[in-house]
C-alpha cells in the first residue's frame, strides 16, 4: 500500500494498467466505460474515488489514473462518428438490462449524460458531446431504430 502523497509516473502507469485490465476491459463499449468512470467522481468535489485502486497504488495515483482514463474515454467518443455513437448508446442501453424506452426517456428528461463530461473539458467540446448524445437519443427513438425492425 502506498502512503506517499506524491505520484510517480510509474505508479500512475501501473494504476492505469490495472484499471484498464481489471475493470474497464470487462465493460462492453466505450460509453459504458465512460458512464462507469464518471460515476467514480464525487460530484461535490470533482475528485475521483476508487477504494481498491487507492489501496493498491495510493489515493493520488488512483485519482490521476481515473481522471486520465475518463478523459481518454471521453475523447474517443467525442471524435467518433454519429453512427458509431448511436451504436455505442444502443450497446449501453442494452447493458443496463432495463426497458429500452424507459432508459431513453430517462436520459432525455434527466439529461444524466451531462455528468459524463470531464471537468477539464472545454466548453465547445462539452457542447458538441451533449448535442451528439441528444441526436443519438433521437435516432434510437425513431421507429426504424427499434429492435426487430
Amino acid at each position: 500500500m502506498f502512503t506517499s502523497t506524491q505520484t510517480s509516473e510509474s505508479q500512475l502507469e501501473a494504476a492505469v494498467r490495472d484499471l484498464e485490465t481489471r475493470t474497464l476491459a470487462n465493460l462492453r463499449g466505450e460509453l459504458t466505460r465512460l458512464v462507469y468512470l464518471s460515476s467514480t467522481r464525487d460530484y461535490n468535489t470533482g475528485e475521483y474515488q476508487h477504494d481498491g485502486l487507492a489501496h493498491q497504488f495510493g489515493a493520488p495515483a488512483a485519482q490521476r489514473a481515473l481522471a486520465q482514463c475518463h478523459q481518454a474515454a471521453f475523447h474517443d467518443l467525442l471524435y467518433s462518428s454519429l453512427p458509431a455513437l448511436v451504436a455505442q448508446l444502443a450497446t449501453y442501453v442494452e447493458s443496463t438490462g432495463a426497458e429500452r424506452e424507459k432508459v431513453l426517456q430517462s436520459w432525455r428528461q434527466l439529461q444524466a449524460f451531462r455528468v459524463l463530461v470531464p471537468g477539464t473539458c472545454d466548453d465547445l467540446s462539452a457542447d458538441f458531446f451533449v448535442s451528439n448524445i441528444r441526436i443519438a437519443l433521437e435516432v434510437l427513438g425513431l421507429p426504424a431504430a427499434q429492435p426487430g425492425n
Binding site: 454519429l82 477539464t120 465547445l124 457542447d127 448535442s131 435516432v139 425513431l142
Partner: protein, 185 residues
C-alpha cells in the same frame, strides 16, 4: 531682445515637452507594475481544428439522411452549423486577443524586427479575410451541404487554423503552452 525672447520661448517649450514625456513614461510604468501580465495570458487557447472537422463531417450528415426523418436531418444540420459558428467565433476571439497581447508586448521590446511585424500584420489581415469568407460559407451550410462544399470549408478552416497558429507563435514560440488539442486539458 527679440532673439532672447525667442530663445527663452523655445527653451520653455522644450522643457514642457520633456516634462510631458517624462510624466507619460512614469504613468506607463506605473500601469505595468500595477497590472503585471499574468502567465495565463500567454496560454494559447485556439479551439482544436479536429473539432471543426467533426462539426462539418459529411459522414454524419449522410448517415442522418439515410434515417428518412427530415426533422432529424434538419436538427443535425442546424446543430452542426451552430457549433461551427461557435468554433469560428472562438478562434477569432483568441487570435484577436493574441494579436493585441503581441502589440502590447512589442511596445516595450527593444529588438523589434519591422519585417517580422509586417509579416504578422499580413497574417492577421489574411486571418480576418478568411474568417469572413468562412463565416459566410458556414451560414450557407444547410441548403448547401454537398461533400465538395464541406471539403472546401475544411480547406478554408485549415488555412484559418494555420494563420491562427502563426499569430500564436508570434507571442513567443516555444514558450507558449498550448491548450490540449483533444478538447480536454
Amino acid at each position: 531682445m527679440m532673439n532672447f525672447i525667442i530663445i527663452i520661448s523655445i527653451s520653455v517649450a522644450l522643457l514642457y515637452f520633456l516634462w510631458v514625456a517624462a510624466r507619460r513614461s512614469a504613468s506607463d510604468s506605473a500601469v505595468h507594475s500595477d497590472h503585471p501580465w499574468e502567465p495565463a495570458e500567454y496560454l494559447v487557447r485556439l479551439p482544436p481544428r479536429a473539432l471543426l472537422d467533426r462539426f462539418l463531417s459529411s459522414e454524419d450528415v449522410e448517415y442522418a439522411a439515410t434515417l428518412h426523418s427530415p426533422a432529424l436531418l434538419r436538427r443535425v444540420v442546424r446543430e452542426r452549423r451552430r457549433l461551427a459558428v461557435a468554433w469560428l467565433r472562438q478562434i477569432r476571439r483568441e487570435a484577436g486577443r493574441l494579436y493585441r497581447l503581441h502589440l502590447r508586448t512589442v511596445r516595450q521590446a527593444e529588438g523589434l524586427i519591422p519585417a517580422a511585424e509586417v509579416k504578422l500584420a499580413l497574417a492577421a489581415g489574411s486571418f480576418l479575410a478568411v474568417y469572413v469568407v468562412l463565416m459566410g460559407a458556414v451560414r450557407l451550410y444547410g441548403p448547401l451541404r454537398t461533400r465538395r462544399f464541406l471539403e472546401s470549408l475544411q480547406t478554408l478552416a485549415n488555412t484559418l487554423s494555420n494563420l491562427g497558429g502563426r499569430i500564436a507563435e508570434s507571442i513567443g514560440p516555444g514558450l507558449v503552452p498550448q491548450s490540449d488539442a483533444r478538447g480536454v486539458s
